[in-house]
């Protein structure tokens, strides 16, 4: 369904949604971040890109699975912990970040359905905002089959038409939000639709960074597993977790029992983010580490995103948000690396 919403009535709409947990981008210190709010005025859809994508809400960095206590009588108590029952709306989701969730959906929704992920996923409605101008210096969504107004993963997409938003809903979840404030939404005029079209065409043009012939990359990577290329490229890598933790598509995790008392043994089983960039990620208990150096870890990251994932899900595990490029402390440029891969040896 297609509608328009005047900008000044946005808060009124949000007011109707207060039964949900409302997230909106907020500027803290020098960066942006999704934060829960109950003040409709806080909603801000004119922002660059959050440092952490909405992944952190659907797939939080820390998830408690269960609590256990080895009671002294020797019959341990184990209590399962599930995410709270609370529907949520995330405003201002960038299309690339929404698309990323369709990837994590695949990962957590295979033969084994991850109840924690899906509980949050299902009770969250994503209200996107299309990127009329690239929100980020290193945006390249178009190069990876994305677009500044892609609807993938979104329930609602808003597009800024100056004094109003063009509103498109793609799901029941989405429509439900509109229905909660029927009066505020008008049907779009022909002009609105024309403006929308124009904006969309321009918005694609505005995206400067890109990878040419990305299709050539996966087959190339197949041959490059043992290439010295990776040693060269990883020279400046610091083995920190930024590129992966901030990537909207990365989804690796670790599960630990965190002990709060040693006698009687009390604690929690906790899932936390993990990353292939940390040396302990592949550390075997024998001490052997199949990915012993930065090179093999960088390779893993690239191959996973542009080969393995493609083989498995017929899609690049990258939505072109550009976070890993802009936030890498030593300026490792994914696009540069991919260009080199593509042209490697030729």
């Amino acid at each position: 369904m297609q509608k328009v919403l005047t900008k000044k009535s946005l808060p009124q709409w949000v007011k109707k949604l207060l039964s949900y947990t409302i997230y909106t981008p907020v500027e803290e210190d020098d960066h942006w971040n999704f934060v829960a709010t109950d003040n409709p005025e806080d909603i801000n859809l004119d922002y660059p890109l959050t440092t952490l994508s909405p992944k952190k809400i659907i797939f939080p960095q820390r998830e408690i699975f269960l609590e256990f206590c080895d009671s002294t009588e020797g019959n341990p108590e184990v209590k399962e912990v599930l995410p709270a029952e609370k529907s949520a709306v995330i405003f201002g989701v960038r299309p690339c970040d929404a698309k990323a969730l369709t990837f994590t959906d695949k990962v957590f929704g295979g033969d084994f359905k991850d109840i924690y992920y899906w509980k949050r996923r299902n009770q969250t409605t994503l209200v996107g905002i299309s990127c009329n101008t690239p929100p980020y210096t290193n945006c390249f969504c178009v190069s990876v089959n994305g677009s500044p107004y892609s609807k993938e993963g979104l329930d609602i997409l808003l597009t800024d038409l100056g004094d109003k938003y063009f509103v498109e809903t793609y799901t029941k979840k989405g429509e439900k939000l509109l229905n909660l404030a029927k009066g505020l939404f008008k049907s779009p005029t022909a002009k609105d639709k024309k403006d929308l079209e124009k904006i969309r065409i321009d918005s694609k043009k505005k995206i400067k960074r890109q990878i040419k012939n990305i299709k050539k990359i996966p087959p190339k990577l197949k041959e490059m597993f043992d290439s010295p290329f990776w040693d060269e490229e990883s020279m400046s890598c610091l083995r920190c977790g930024i590129c992966t933790y901030l990537c909207p598509t990365c989804h690796c995790f670790d599960i630990n029992d965190e002990i709060t008392s040693s006698s009687p043994i009390k604690g929690k089983r906790i899932r936390t983010w993990d990353t292939c960039q940390f040396p302990d990620f592949t550390m075997h208990s024998s001490g052997h580490n199949p990915r012993p150096d930065k090179a093999s870890r960088l390779r893993q990251r690239i191959l996973h995103k542009f080969l393995y994932f493609v083989d498995r899900y017929q899609n690049y595990q990258c939505t072109g948000c550009g976070r890993c490029i802009s936030l890498c402390p030593v300026g490792i440029d994914l696009l540069e690396v991919l260009d080199k891969v593509r042209d490697y040896g030729s």
Partner: protein, 648 residues
């Protein structure tokens, strides 16, 4: 997981009075890893210990915690108990629930709660204890004594007479130290040389004593039981075996220099024998004052030496010795006269220090026992003795009391009176310290029989005037100003550690106290031990003391040394540092902080010398990589203890 047994002691009502021991036992029985827990009235009693042994056998315990009094009291007891039941003693830990709990709290419930935490903490520790065996060290059964004064001589003789080889090192040409310079000794007024020389001779003749005079310690390495010593033997240029003591050389020697033995009151030649009874009885050619060893430079002594004992080509020689224990008896020197200028010492010939006066009184002295003024060899009729010169003067000089001055000044006054019956002795003093057998009586004698006039107060000015030495001062008792035209002034100057003691202390790694004396391991309970195991202190090197004290300490030090030398092997606590080489980055910070030099870097990794390590753990707190820890009190253990102490 270990099988730990916990034993809670009532200590009569000492513990059970305020701690619900039954509850503690019950609580602990539920603690992870505890398979047996019971309480008993007196764990340290035989039945108590047997009950531990039984429990160990019945429940195949591999570790034990005893909750009782302070580990300082019964840790050893219980470690032996578990040992007798076949468990490694280091698998037993003590929870102090008496001194640190039942005795300081009243509220039963709260005290019990705390006792439980303390005991659990000990359990957490013992769960992670390693079984350890004491580190055994072989012992080199010989000793080194540094310093040939009365203290060194005494130690050497005691050691030798107990059957141990001794190397006695003295830096001057003869042993005897300052005591040999003294005339009579208080409080008995017996002749110092008469009582000392027999001991000196005994040293020289003793088959077990290797005497190295005119020698200095150059370097010491190793550790208790196994020291390696490098000794520099300075050339005397006179072969003692050839020398017949004919004394011809001194007759021809053109050089005259002040005689150290007489403290400059007489002169000696460049080639000389320090004093007639010197041990070893031989001559020394003092290269510093000799015009030169080349026959063209002088060569007179060599010319006249019939037995050709004088050998200009003699070279310094390094003697290397291995010893198991070391006694340091480097003695004292008198406070520099330069620093005592205010009393005119060094400025006026007739202002002397105590030792110089001793020489004047001594039959073997420059005046063959007559007390005469150095300036004009007249008999002094009025002599002023001043005590505490440089001592007890924190502002300008030494803060400490030199201890023996009160006594020897009284003695000086007496001796003076005996030599010059019509003379008058004045003594300026702050107060009189005559603690010691027969000492007080001695001082009284000086006053009553020999009419020494004691003036309580300090001397303000001393200056020469018409052949007299004017001494101005105040008698603080009468408040009167005092002015004495003295013929001679004798200063009881402070004792200070002997020249070079500091250097030596550095080589031996013995700490010095604030005054530069060698510091003992404990001021009360370990007065003859240094902080370095295997090194002991004797005599005035440790603090000012008189002859009987020096001798007593010397024998004490010898006894301590014998306690080591009498062992086949020594045993060292195995709770020492250990390095995790996988984590060590070789930064050397631990090496730097170790108080015992037990750490070193080898191929870029820290390495522990377990024999030197005392297990203080400063290294482990310093290490940023968590690469070094002390066995059985590792960060892991402490961390678990923290948890237990906070109740889980």
């Amino acid at each position: 997981m270990k099988r730990t047994g916990v034993f809670i002691c009532h200590c009569g009502i000492n513990i059970a009075g305020t701690v619900d021991v039954k509850k503690v036992a019950k609580e602990l029985s539920n603690h992870t890893g505890v398979v047996h827990s019971e309480e008993y009235i007196y764990m340290c009693s035989d039945p108590g210990q047997n009950l531990i042994i039984e429990a160990i056998k019945e429940n195949q315990l591999d570790s034990v915690v005893v909750a009782c009094c302070s580990p300082t009291l019964h840790e050893t007891t219980f470690r032996n108990t578990v040992k007798s039941a076949g468990i490694n003693p280091f698998q037993c830990e003590i929870a102090n629930i008496r001194e640190q709990c039942s005795w300081v709290h009243k509220d039963m419930e709260k005290a019990t709660e705390k006792a439980i935490k303390l005991t659990k903490s000990a359990v957490e520790r013992v769960h992670r204890n390693e079984s350890l065996d004491p580190i055994s060290i072989p012992v080199t059964r010989r000793a080194l004594v540094v310093g040939g004064g009365i203290a060194g001589i005494q130690s050497a003789l005691d050691l030798a007479n107990s059957g141990y080889e001794v190397i006695l090192v003295e830096r001057s040409p003869s042993i005897g130290g300052h005591m040999i310079q003294l005339s009579e000794t208080f409080p008995t007024l017996d002749c110092s040389q008469c009582i000392l020389t027999p001991k000196m001779v005994e040293v020289s003749k003793h088959p077990k004593i290797k005497l190295l005079t005119y020698s200095e310690i150059q370097d010491i390495s190793g550790y208790v039981g196994n020291f390696k010593v490098k000794i520099l033997k300075k050339p005397t240029y006179v072969d003692p075996d050839k020398c017949t003591l004919c004394d011809e050389c001194t007759k021809v020697c053109p050089v005259v220099v002040p005689n150290e033995f007489d403290l400059g009151l007489t002169g000696r030649r460049a080639v000389y024998m320090p004093f007639p009874q010197a041990i070893p009885a031989t001559y020394t050619l003092d290269i510093k004052s000799c015009p030169g060893l080349l026959p063209i430079a002088c060569g007179k002594c060599a010319d006249v030496c019939e037995p050709e004992a004088i050998d200009y080509d003699m070279k310094p020689e390094i003697v290397e010795e291995e010893v198991g224990a070391i006694i340091v008896a480097t003695g004292f020197d008198l406070y520099d006269k330069e620093l005592m200028a205010e009393y005119g010492h060094g400025k006026y010939a007739d202002v002397l220090d105590g030792l110089q006066f001793e020489r004047l009184c001594s039959a073997s002295g420059p005046t063959t026992g007559k007390i005469l003024r150095p300036s004009d060899h007249k008999e002094p009729k009025e002599v002023v003795f001043i005590q505490c010169v440089g001592s007890r003067d924190p502002e300008l000089h030494c803060a400490y009391c030199s201890k023996i001055c009160c006594m020897y000044t009284a003695k000086h006054a007496m001796l003076y009176k005996h030599h010059v019956p019509d003379g008058q002795a004045y003594i300026f003093y702050i107060d009189i310290r005559s603690g010691g057998k027969g000492y007080e009586e001695f001082v009284q004698r000086a006053v009553e029989e020999d009419g020494a006039l004691y003036l309580r107060g300090k001397v303000s000015k001393i200056f020469e005037d018409k052949g007299k030495i004017k001494v101005w001062g105040v008698d603080t008792l009468s408040g009167k100003d005092i002015e004495i035209d003295a013929d001679m002034v004798v200063l009881a100057t402070a004792m200070r550690p002997s020249e070079g003691a500091e250097e030596l202390a550095k080589k031996l790694k013995i700490a010095l106290d604030k005054d530069g004396f060698l510091s003992e391991a404990h001021p009360k309970l370990r007065p003859v031990e240094s902080v370095t195991p295997g090194m002991f202190l004797a005599g005035a090197a440790q603090a000012p003391k008189d002859i009987p004290e020096a001798v007593a300490q010397a024998s004490g030090a010898a006894a301590k040394a014998i306690a080591i030398l009498s062992q086949e092997r020594l045993f060292h606590a195995p709770t020492v540092a250990k390095v995790n080489v996988n984590l060590c980055t070789g930064c050397g910070m631990c090496v730097h902080v170790c108080p015992y030099d037990s750490l070193s870097l080898k191929d870029g990794k820290a390495e522990v010398n377990e024999v030197l390590c005392e297990g203080c753990g400063t290294c482990s707190a310093t290490c940023l990589r968590a690469a070094i820890e002390v066995k059985n009190l590792t960060p892991l253990q402490v961390n678990e203890m923290i948890g237990a102490s906070l109740g889980g």
